[in-house]
Subunit: 209 residues, 2 copies
Amino acid sequence: MGAEDMTPGVVRPGGRTARVRAAVLRAAGDALAERGFAELDLADIARRAEVGKTTVYRRWGTVTALVADLLTDMADQSLPRTESGTLLGDLRANARLVRRTLTDPRQGALFKAVIAAATCDGRTAEALHRFYDVRIREWAPCVGQAIDRGEVPEGTDTHEVIRAVSAPLYYRLLAGGGPLDETVADRAAEAAAAAARAGVFVRAEGPGE
Amino acid sequence: MGAEDMTPGVVRPGGRTARVRAAVLRAAGDALAERGFAELDLADIARRAEVGKTTVYRRWGTVTALVADLLTDMADQSLPRTESGTLLGDLRANARLVRRTLTDPRQGALFKAVIAAATCDGRTAEALHRFYDVRIREWAPCVGQAIDRGEVPEGTDTHEVIRAVSAPLYYRLLAGGGPLDETVADRAAEAAAAAARAGVFVRAEGPGE
């Protein structure tokens, strides 16, 4: 075991356990992107990762658990938000990041495979929702800052604004409507910012609502 | 053959061929909603529809062709748009219709199954995109009318406004974020209307754009 394993607070220590996990998750992501969820097989992933089959079965047990762990790792590894000083600038940075992910050949295929699996597998759906929750929590503070600056009204649902940025990009990926280019990403950011400024995302409150 | 077969211009004549198609498409939709795309089987669908296996193989040939025909039929059968006299009213009617479809147990399961299939099957993806194109063309004129009334700027991409209404509903169906209730539908309509009014969906034009 390397010295880095003793260092507290290190997210991805370089020990054998961490190296095995990294190799298996990379192999699982490759297999998902290449062949989809239905074709996933723990023995095949162990072979790709050059890791003992027993290790993979003991540690993850099922394909569903492995994909859930992959999504946890993707959330941990995902880029921190950038800050531009304006709501539109921040949302545009978010939209462009989502677009880059979805149009990357490996990542795009991986997301399509996981979304497809989530439509018919409750545990994969939960893992996917947790992934989006992490991403949304990472970016929501930029809407909080816009509230503080007076750019959008008090009471705005910060998470819904971030979801509104992603939604048109996922819709284009899955339901069509032309290429998923940077113009589409920028428009998604502008639409979410305009709606937020207009108060559309202010949470309903009070009796009867 | 019934007399209605001779009537020109009748979209769904009551003849045997039309009855067989209706029975097979209903059976295919049921099977898709219950068991997903991967489990679809022409022989099973023929049994469910109480139609000869040979008829189904001769007429559709493959599961993919049958699902494409189902989507064509769903587009033909889908409700015409309602007109409220305002952009927000029209978009809200559209959003509520999409929400009702996606939260209906049979229809919602059917859409999830087809979206999942489209992620890994190009012909199903094309058929799904054609379905959305038909729906979008049906509703886009309400945005054209809003342009004529001066509610939204000239040059607004009418199709993109309609896609913007559906996107958050599909995102919630597939990526999570809470229940797909009427509040969510109304907010999707309000967000699209606010962004359209702000000119977000005006097409880029001119040199260098």
